[in-house]
Every structure is written in structure tokens, then in C-alpha cells.
Symmetry: C2
């Protein structure tokens, strides 16, 4: 496929406009955007009006168009567009992490069945070429883990809270003013966005297809100044980190939680809107990637890179998925966490396997201990509505000991 590609573009927001700019200013690669489908008829757009359509079928049913680039917000509509495009033999490039995370399996089968290519580098960690690297470079190496900072909005908020002693609300408002957070930020601040990305990455890193509702995400909305003070005193930074860890007996655990990050960790220096990814392989050791996780041009450049790959006939081979040694996804693991709570009742709810530290101040109470991931799952809503805060203290994820859950107090600090 070395002819000049004809592109039908869905969506002309931040990333769509970024792609338009990057494509028109690329030195090497030429492709034509022949149609742009948008919804809002009242907006003025800085492109020729003949390019614009309000009817998706004008792109989907146009046989001249080889490639559909899907850059809209609505995940359901995006799935409709992407699947209809694939069924019509069109290649698709998308950045829609929610849609992908929800429909990975169907999409995998569709692109196989219709023998077309579906690429989505821009869906995870913006300008960092993580999917391609997992797919093409780590295809023959068993990985130990993939972790990182996959969401620029929360990283910006968390950086500001610690660096400037802002409250979560103040930092969120600042992020919204600067355009780093949306007016309804729930997708980011509750950790859904990095979860969708972790699910996409888990497919290319481990061959796993997991449903979003199987994966725990706890966000940063309950972060309190006492947590910030605690982290500052200990020399930690707070980051919202997805974890994709291979553990014993060929199992993989996936979850998204706030984490206390120590200064020797690569992620310690990934601040503000930047993203970072750590990949640890059995042979290559720990690799670290950092780059802009969002933004019009960086994400546009990631989309363009996929379009260019299409023009060279590139297709994900889902190599880890195709190898028949896929590990099993599990939530049956124990994590070591810091848990800031309000009342003794909170501690009675969340059953710890083991408590190694307990602190009671006038208005600040926490424990440090080991807890089963399923406990966090069960009490996720309780934690959020009661403004409790949980943060991973130790990256080691242990397989559970068959539900033997007696809480043991090892060290008790009581200060009043």
C-alpha cells in the first residue's frame, strides 16, 4: 500500500486539529484528509467548509476513503464508527481508550475477519510509542511488569499539590484553568482513564483481554492535606499509578491506585503533565520511557505515526495474545498500603491481613499494612464517599494465601 492514503476523519477537537496541523507540516509523509465528520453545526472551524460533513455515512460509505481516523469523545458512537469502518474494509486509527478497553476482543476479531488494520498508539500515553514497542520489541521476552504514570491530568494535579502545598481542589481548579483537566474531570481523577490505558497495554504486554469492570481503579479525589503532609515528610511523591504485574504461577494482576513514590524510582521525576512508563523484562531489565502524555501536537503526531505505519502495511500481530502461554488475570493479591481513615469503624470495615504501623493523632489517623485487593474492590465506594485515602507503599504484589485473613498488629504508635 504505497499510494497516497485518503483519510476520513471523525472529530475535530484538540487531537483532530493537532493531526491536521502535523499532517500538513510533516516533511516525509503525505496523505489527504478528504472528509471530516463533526457533530456541532454552530462551531466555526478553520478548514474549508467542503471538508466538513455532519453525516458519518458520508465517510463510512465513501469507497474512495482507505483510512478512518476516529478522534471523538463518545465511546459508544466511536465503537459504532470503528466497527462499521472495519466491516467496510477500511483501516482504522483511533485514540479512544475507553472504547478500546471496552471492546478489545470484538475489535481484535473484526480486524482479523475483515483483514484490515486497527492501530491505536495515541490511545495510551500520548507521544510515548509504548504499544509499538511492546508489540515489536518485547514480543519475545517475558515481562515482569509494566507500570508508570499514564494520566497527565492527575499527575499535574498531584505535582501542584505537593510542590505548592495546594489542596486537591485548588490544584484541580488550576489544572482546569490551564486546560489540563476537563470541566467534568471524573474520568481522570477517579482513575478510569489510566485504567483503560492499562487494559490496552496489558493486551500487548501479556496477551490479556480484561474487562474494565474487573480492574480496580481508585483515584485521587479523597486526597487530603494530611496525606500530602505525610508524603512530604517522608520524602515521597504521590502519583496515580497503574500496575500490571506478573506474579507467581503465571498470573497477572492489574489495578490503578495512588502510590507513594520514593526518590530512586524513575517516576519520581515525571512531573506535571508528563507521562512515564516502566517496562521490566526478564532479559532486558528495567526500561523507562518518558514523554508528553497529551496535547494537540504530541497526540496528533502519535496518530500520524499510525497512519504512516498503515501506509507501509503495518498491522498489530498481537504477538503475546497469539502465543499460547497467556497468563491468567487475577485480583487475588495482597498489597502493602497506607490507609488514612476517620473513625475506628473504617478500620473495622477494611479487613487488613497484617498491620505494621498504626498512627492516631487528633484529626489524623492512618495504618500501614497489607490488604487484599478484593477488600479494596469491595470498599471502593465506601473509601470514596467517606473521604478516606489509600496509597500503595510498596510495589511488590504478592499472591494471596488462600484467604487466611487474620489481622496482626506488629507496631502501634499512638500520639494524641
Amino acid at each position: 500500500m504505497n499510494k497516497k492514503l485518503k483519510i476520513g476523519l471523525f472529530g475535530f477537537g484538540c487531537v483532530g486539529q493537532g493531526l491536521y496541523h502535523v499532517l500538513n507540516n510533516s516533511t516525509g509523509f503525505k496523505a489527504d484528509i478528504v472528509k471530516i465528520a463533526v457533530i456541532d453545526k454552530t462551531k466555526t472551524r478553520r478548514v474549508e467548509s467542503t471538508l466538513i460533513t455532519y453525516n458519518k455515512w458520508e465517510i463510512l460509505d465513501n469507497s474512495e476513503i482507505d483510512v478512518v481516523v476516529e478522534l471523538i469523545d463518545d465511546a459508544d458512537e466511536a465503537f459504532l464508527i470503528v466497527s462499521e469502518a472495519l466491516k467496510r474494509g477500511k483501516h482504522v486509527v483511533t485514540a479512544n481508550k475507553k472504547m478500546l478497553a471496552q471492546h478489545l476482543e470484538e475489535l481484535y476479531h473484526l480486524q482479523n475477519e475483515y483483514n484490515v488494520s486497527l492501530l491505536y498508539e495515541a490511545s495510551a500515553c500520548g507521544s510515548i510509542p509504548i504499544i509499538r514497542t511492546l508489540e515489536e520489541y518485547f514480543d519475545n521476552e517475558e515481562l515482569k511488569k509494566v507500570t508508570g504514570i499514564f494520566n497527565g491530568t492527575t499527575n499535574y494535579i498531584l505535582t501542584r499539590t505537593l510542590a505548592e502545598n495546594l489542596s486537591y481542589q485548588e490544584a484541580l481548579s488550576q489544572a482546569q484553568l490551564k486546560g489540563f483537566a476537563e470541566s467534568n474531570p471524573v474520568n481522570d481523577v477517579e482513575g478510569f482513564d489510566p485504567k483503560f490505558k492499562a487494559i490496552i497495554i496489558a493486551l500487548h504486554a501479556f496477551g490479556l483481554i480484561i474487562k474494565p469492570n474487573e480492574v480496580l481503579n481508585i483515584g485521587i479525589t479523597t486526597l487530603h492535606e494530611s496525606d500530602i503532609k505525610y508524603a512530604n515528610e517522608k520524602g515521597y511523591k504521590i502519583k496515580l499509578t497503574p500496575h500490571i504485574h506478573r506474579i507467581a504461577h503465571n498470573k497477572v494482576s492489574v489495578f490503578v491506585v495512588p502510590s507513594f513514590i520514593k526518590s530512586h524510582n524513575h517516576l519520581y521525576n515525571v512531573d506535571n503533565e508528563f507521562n512515564g512508563v516502566i517496562v521490566e523484562g526478564d532479559f532486558s531489565g528495567e526500561q523507562f520511557f518518558q514523554g508528553k502524555g497529551a496535547g494537540s501536537y504530541p497526540t496528533g503526531a502519535a496518530v500520524l505515526s499510525d497512519i504512516s505505519a498503515l501506509s507501509h502495511g503495518y498491522k498489530y500481530e498481537f504477538k503475546k495474545f497469539a502465543q499460547n502461554q497467556i497468563p491468567k488475570f487475577t485480583n487475588d493479591v495482597i498489597l502493602e498500603v497506607y490507609f488514612r481513615y476517620n473513625s475506628p469503624e473504617d478500620l473495622r470495615h477494611l479487613q487488613f491481613e497484617e498491620i505494621t504501623e498504626k498512627y492516631n493523632g487528633n484529626d489524623f489517623h492512618y495504618v500501614i499494612g497489607k490488604i487484599h485487593l478484593e477488600q479494596l474492590f469491595e470498599y471502593r465506594e465506601y473509601i470514596l464517599t467517606n473521604h478516606l485515602f489509600i496509597s500503595l507503599l510498596n510495589e511488590r504484589v504478592e499472591l494471596s494465601n488462600d484467604g487466611n485473613r487474620k489481622t496482626v498488629f506488629k507496631k502501634e504508635l499512638q500520639i494524641f
Copy 2:
């Protein structure tokens, strides 16, 4: 090409044995090493003796072998092996940076002429997939620069000198004891190794084919305790850094010099034997990659990744080279440096464009100023033999002003 590959391996040292291990322990990929050519008949090797040959033609003339993997030290012999293999229609994977840097143009034409694939990810920055990323991900984006730490040996030495107040000689001995430096370390410590890597990377980042003798490399052999003290006082780290910078009028400058690295630079935290690469694109901004730059398994894994790519029909397309907007290589640039010298005569030799600081102590003299890269080229030997030390202070590389070289003193500090 989806059959099981038959590999002829040249060299069974550190990387060769790493590849052997990694290949035999890879879950996904299967290929057979059918013959291993080595030189030394006295060594015992932990593989079946029937695998070993001392005659290179037994591999080159074996029509059953699809892929030659070249992992020997001798660059001239390596070129002979690689070119003979390509001419016989065999694909080649090599990690020999010196051989590649010296013969990039011939090898490019050979692999084109014989329609075979020549891959060499392991030649630059070990386990960091930088060549593939430049070739496949940044293929349509103009880059501003590529820089980093491409040599683990010197990075280990420099890290130890600063962290433990060791002298250069003490740190070198420690590196040799730990196996991070060879008994004859000149290739690393004088900056040839990172220069070869920079030349390979310049082809994939900018489409440039440059000869090693056109590129300045100044190493770390003249590092003195006063330089270490100066860097420590200022809060700098010292790193040996290759620079591949696009400057005005579509020109690219390439050189390797020691640099003072400030704490906000990504490279500040790349210590010991690790490598780091910074790629800055017009659209994606600054990207940073870190990983193990050497070692048996990491490099073996990089070689395996190339072999696996071969099995999927992968071939570099040298996209930046193929695009006909290749910038021009130039040494006509001005750098801002720290220059530690011994006598006034040293300063009379190296003509500075501008001197902004001058320090004279009892036995420590330095200037900070701007100097033409060609001056450094001309006086490279003089600097080395007289134990002077030069370190880049500012990453900005400026195009020269047509040789207008009057030295201007801006600020003079004299302390006795």
C-alpha cells in the same frame, strides 16, 4: 518468512552467549542456531562441540542458513563477514557499531542490491529500542535533536568519580574489576564508541551518512579532581554526551564531548552503567528513554528482537534517508564550554570566540566561553596530551558567524 529461522552465529563472547541464553529461554519465538564460528581453539565453550566451527565459510557458504548474526569484536573481519553474507542473500543482524559507522553507505547499498535485511538495534544503546523507534515512530516528524548517554563504561566511571570522590584512574580500575570496562578501554573512554553510535543514530534520525573521522570525539581521560570538585560545587554531574542537533538552515551538527549536566536534565538521573536517550521532535516534544546500555542478556535480547523482526519480514526502510530533504552535516558551529587549562600558552592555542568567565587559582585555571567546534577538532590531541579538560556547559549549538573570531573578555575572576 514464517518458517523457523536457521541462524549462523559469529562470536560467542558476552553478547553471543547472552543471545544463546535468551533465545533458548524465549517463550514466543523459536529459531535454531545451527553453527557458531569462533576463533580461539583453546577455549572451552558450554555448547555442544558440533555447533562450533573455526571456519567462517562453513556458515557463509551453508545455504541452509538464512540469517547471519555477527557478534565479534574485530570491525574489519566483521565487515567482511557481513558483506559476504548479504551478497549470499542472507539476512544479517549485527551489533558491531564501529563496523557499521565505518561502512554505513556500502552496507545500505548492499542490503538494497541483494534485497536482504540488515538490522542492528543492539549496536546502539543496548536494550533501548532507539533505532526502531526513530525508524518507525519518528519517521514523519522533523527532529530537533537526539542526545543522551550512549556509553555505559564512561557513565559508570563518571558516576563513581562524582559519587565517591574517586579519581578517574581509581574509577576506571573499579569499572575494569566489575567488568564494565575492558582492559584496553580507549574505545570507550576516548569517546569513540558513543561516536559510532551517534553516527548510526544520525542516519535514522536525520538521514545523514557521516564518516567517523568527520565527527569530533573528546573523551574523559583528562578528567582531573579539580574538574570533579568544580562540578560538585556547582551541582552538576559530568556525563559523556553525543550531540546530534539540527540547527539553522537545515544543518546538523554531531559531536561527542563531556558535558556538565544540570539537575533538571533527564540525563542527570541516568547513572552507573545505564544509558539514556533524549529525542526532541517538532511535534511530540521531548521524549526520554532509559535502559541498560550493555550486558549479556539485555544486548542478547536486543539481538533476538532483530531476529524476530526478520522472521516477520522486517527491513529498515531508512525513511529519513529516502526522503529527499536530508540536512547537511556541519562542524561550523560554536559551543559554550568550560575549559580547564594549565598554562597561559594553552589559552593562546585554543582561540575562544568569547570568554565570559576566567578563573586563576594556584593550581586550577579555567575559562568559560564560546569556542568554534573546529578549534576543538584542531586541538584535540593537544588537549589530550597536555591533560586539559573540556566540558560542554550549554546544550545550545549555534551556527558560526563566518569565522569572525575576536575574543572578548566579559568577566574576569582572578583569585590567588
